[in-house]
């Protein structure tokens, strides 16, 4: 009797992936069931098989993978027994998929409305007029501004958050029974994320759609899901309703996932400043990006720059490194003014400021080995001989908790966390005084993030290096910062010791930013939305 209510039932699903000339297990026999109108959260680190399982719920296997065993029953039909044509008819109309990057999923040559209505019209479910009317209704349900007209715009004419909402509307346009959300808000700013999450949840509730919500962000899933399933290495760790899962997780692994966000250190400050940015104004061409920014970095401490994208955090870093000469103001390093351009700086000045990037993938030359990548700064700045370089590389690898044998590997042979460690080692190689970390953990899984943050803290304690830590993640700030600088639209909103910034009273923008950080309580989203209505009239 209870089975009648089941929309999707997957039993013993096994999926293989092809690499290195043989098949590897990706999903090792996972069960999953979903009732009509229910939202299931799938969480786990990258490589846990979340997306693969999500796609399998549509009977789809990515190229290079195959569904080897088990059954996938959607509304009484076993998807594995249907022909490709029959499955295609289900996809898009009864099962829809919302991908992580909306920008990549929309065709830039067509308007939003055309793309939203395309499936419903082409499948003959609705006439064009009705489909367009329904799309407008969905835009309204997704809280998009001006729902009657926004559909006439092209994807590049709306913001990232709006595009992600339009994509959800597109998925819902054919009135599906099931939507699979694959990390839909990961690429968004926290302040935008809240709105998108709220709109998605509202729409799902309003139309009674069932959903599978895939993410690695626990606080987000706590807001969206009725039940949570934790995956690891292609196997289920545990499953429970959201409340139980948050308050009383059974498995150690789940508890370790939960524990990551609680990393915290007390903020300390000092009057001895290694870097002082004084009244800096900078522009790209004629577009002003920084307006009269002043920031001081105490020696051996960490200053976190927070703010949403476009707030000027990374531009500040470019001014400090000399990539973007400021139009006004100056940068003092260790009491001495720094020449504004890269070409004007001496090798010694360059050596003392190093940088770590967000995407470790593009920050390392894929055709150089780890040994070459880390060894080059040693040879370049210190003119070390070949054997000295080799010894220093081994020492640095040891410092970042990797083995000497890693020095012959290419970046493509490393995991995300290992790559970021190598980038840290490269930055440490010339013994710098200041390291600028630009979103260094935001592309990583939470457990790996924790490892990197602990490493950075340990290195600071051992080597006394100062950090400028650029991030939009407040949990990361809690974990690592001594001082915090809040930036908004190219200006500094607030600056001070972490505890002062994080305790009320706040300027409006800081308040908005702090209130946007998802908390691990099921009721947080509704509460945050209610509070924000008051904040942003």
């Amino acid at each position: 009797m209870a089975n009648d209510d089941l929309l999707l039932r997957m039993r013993g699903v096994e999926i293989d992936g092809w690499s290195d000339e043989r098949w590897h297990d990706i999903i090792k026999g996972v069960d999953l069931s979903l009732k009509h109108g229910e939202v299931l959260g799938l969480i786990g680190e990258s490589g846990a098989g979340k997306s693969t399982l999500g796609l399998a719920a549509m009977g789809y296997a990515r190229p290079g993978t195959r569904i080897k065993g088990g059954e996938i029953v959607f509304d009484g039909q076993d998807l594995r027994k249907l022909s490709e044509r029959q499955k295609q008819r289900l996809r898009g109309s009864r099962i829809a998929y919302v991908a992580q990057s909306a920008a990549a999923a929309f065709n830039p040559a067509h308007t939003l409305l055309d793309q939203t209505t395309e499936v419903a019209v082409r499948r003959g479910q609705l006439g064009r007029k009705e489909a367009e009317a329904y799309a407008r209704e969905l835009y309204a349900a997704m809280d998009l501004p001006n729902p009657d007209r926004i559909g006439d715009r092209f994807p590049h004419q709306v913001s990232g958050g709006q595009l992600q909402r339009a994509m959800t509307a597109m998925a819902m346009a054919s009135k599906p029974d099931l939507i699979i959300f694959d990390e839909p808000t990961t690429a968004l700013d926290v302040t935008t994320q809240v709105n998108v999450l709220a709109a998605m949840r509202k729409a799902i509730e309003q139309f009674g759609t069932a959903a599978i919500y895939i993410t690695h962000d626990l606080a987000v899933v706590a807001q969206m899901a009725d039940r949570i399933k934790v995956l690891r290495y292609g196997e289920e760790v545990e499953e429970a309703d959201t409340h139980t899962m948050l308050t009383a997780p059974k498995e150690t692994y789940t508890r370790s996932l939960w524990a990551v966000r609680s990393l915290e250190k007390p903020g300390e400050t000092s009057d001895d400043k290694i870097l002082q940015i004084r009244n800096v104004t900078a522009a790209y061409g004629k577009v002003p990006v920084l307006k009269n920014v002043s920031i001081a970095v105490p020696r051996g401490k960490t200053v976190a720059l927070v703010g949403e994208s476009g707030s000027g955090k990374s531009t500040t870093a470019r001014v400090v490194t000399g990539l973007l000469p400021p139009s006004r103001g100056e940068v003092l390093f260790d009491g001495e003014p720094l020449p504004p351009t890269l070409a004007g700086r001496s090798r010694e000045q360059l050596r003392r400021i190093q940088m770590i990037y967000q995407m470790a993938d593009t920050a390392m030359n894929p055709r150089q080995t780890v040994g070459e990548i880390i060894g080059r700064p040693v040879a370049f700045y210190h003119g070390a001989s070949r054997s000295e370089v080799r010894a220093r590389v081994a020492e640095l690898l040891d410092l970042i908790e990797l083995d000497e044998s890693f020095s012959d590997r290419f970046p493509g042979e490393l995991s995300g966390g290992q790559k970021q460690r190598i980038c840290i080692a490269r930055a440490l190689a010339p013994n710098p005084d200041l390291i600028i970390c630009d979103e260094v953990t935001s592309a990583l899984d939470q457990i790996v993030q924790e490892g990197i943050l602990k490493l950075l803290l340990r290195l600071q304690k051992e080597l006394g290096v100062s950090y400028i830590f650029i991030t939009h993640d407040i949990a990361t700030v809690q974990a690592i910062a001594d001082e915090v600088v809040v930036m908004y639209q190219g200006s500094v909103v607030e600056q001070g010791r972490k505890e002062e910034i994080f305790s009320p009273p706040h300027p409006d923008y800081t308040e908005l930013l702090l209130s946007s950080v998802p908390k691990m309580e099921p009721g947080w989203l509704s509460q945050a939305i209610a509070e924000r209505r008051q904040l942003t009239p």
């Binding site: 092809w18 690499s19 290195d20 590897h24 490589g47 190229p63 290079g64 195959r66 290495y233 150690t252 692994y253 370790s256 524990a259 490194t321 000399g322 990539l323 890269l342 700086r345 090798r347 360059l350 190093q354 940088m355 990037y357 995407m359 593009t362 920050a363 390392m364 030359n365 894929p366 055709r367 150089q368 080059r376 700064p377 370049f380 700045y381 970042i400 908790e401 990797l402 083995d403 044998s405 890693f406 012959d408 590997r409 042979e413 490393l414 995991s415 966390g417 290992q418 460690r421 490269r426 457990i447 790996v448 924790e450 490892g451 602990k454 490493l455």
Partner: protein, 320 residues
């Protein structure tokens, strides 16, 4: 062979008890198989399609013929015999030409001359075009503007006519032939190299090298060049064919390689009139087509290999 990466997790496990589950060195659960360069090369060779194999075998044959020409040829390159236009016979396998030189021997020597010149020209074109393109890509700004517009100007003039003009100014010696064709061809190389290098220049590792204070030469050679090699190698194969055809065309027009040096292009021209004897002696009529066929087959062979290489490196993969 595959054991290099397997590490026991506890070897580097942090002392922190809360972290017992985690260690950076053991982060990847399924370690990728590591292969040496030679193993990788052999593996992709084994999977090469039949067309690529045919191409490689043909190129190898041409190379052997070119290198060992004096040993393989029955007569000398410029050795003149009594009878011009001799028919195919046991003494002269493909007969003799208009002044009585053995055509078979000249075909073999022609491989050496024509391929050698084409190869030298292509290498020079890549050195000039590639070098300037990398400079333009790294420095950008005015350097890029000036070089790119210069290349546009050169490309706007029909290259064959331009080459003919320059050859009549500088004379058709082998060095000037190589230089002129190389300069004209380097414009195409410049365009391609600049385009692919632009994609790499914006990567963060190039920025990191700049921040480190690295010089232009290092950034060009060590950071960018290794990352754009695959399209350049593919282009090299194609350019080689075109240079080859240009040299042959210029020789056919009489401004290329000068007699008595044997060259396939001029051999076609010298014996072209034999075609009209097709109704009397089919074999004699085939004679001018032999050097033409030599050119065509090498072009096809190179293209087979290049196609395979392009397919392999462009990331097009067959689905399993």
């Amino acid at each position: 062979m595959t054991d290099t990466t397997a590490k026991t997790p506890d070897e580097f496990a942090p002392t922190d008890a809360a972290e017992e589950d985690y260690s950076a060195a053991s982060e990847v659960s399924q370690v990728k198989l590591r292969r040496t360069r030679r193993e990788r090369a052999w593996l992709s060779l084994r999977k090469a399609p039949i067309s690529a194999w045919i191409g490689m075998v043909l190129i190898a044959i041409y190379a052997i013929v070119a290198i060992f020409a004096p040993l393989l040829a029955p007569y000398g390159e410029a050795e003149v015999f009594a009878q011009p236009y001799a028919p195919w016979s046991a003494e002269h396998v493909f007969g003799t030409d208009q002044i009585g030189r053995d055509i078979f021997s000249r075909l073999i020597y022609g491989a050496r001359n024509t391929i050698g010149i084409a190869l030298a020209t292509t290498l020079l074109a890549f050195a000039i075009g590639g070098g300037l393109a990398l400079t333009a890509a790294v420095l950008r700004g005015w350097t890029d503007q000036i070089l790119s517009r210069l290349v546009d100007v050169l490309m706007a003039i029909p290259s064959l006519i331009f080459a003919l003009m320059l050859l009549s100014i500088f004379g058709s010696s082998v060095p000037s032939l190589i230089c002129i064709i190389a300069v004209l061809d380097s414009t195409r190389v410049f365009r391609l190299t600049r385009a692919v290098a632009m994609n790499v220049v914006v990567m963060e590792f190039v920025e990191a090298a700049r921040l480190r204070g690295e010089g232009l030469a290092w950034i060009m050679r060590r950071e960018i060049l290794p990352n754009i090699m695959p399209p350049l190698v593919a282009e090299f194969g194609l350019r080689f064919c075109f240079v080859f055809l240009t040299v042959a065309a210029l020789s056919f027009l009489g401004l290329g390689i000068q007699p008595p040096t044997a060259d396939w292009g001029s051999m076609v021209r010298d014996n072209a009139s034999l075609i009209q004897f097709a109704q009397y002696d089919l074999k004699a009529a085939l004679t001018p087509l032999l050097p033409a066929a030599a050119i065509a087959i090498l072009t096809i062979a190179v293209n087979f290999v290049v196609d395979w290489f392009l397919h392999k490196t462009s990331g097009l993969k067959d689905e399993h």
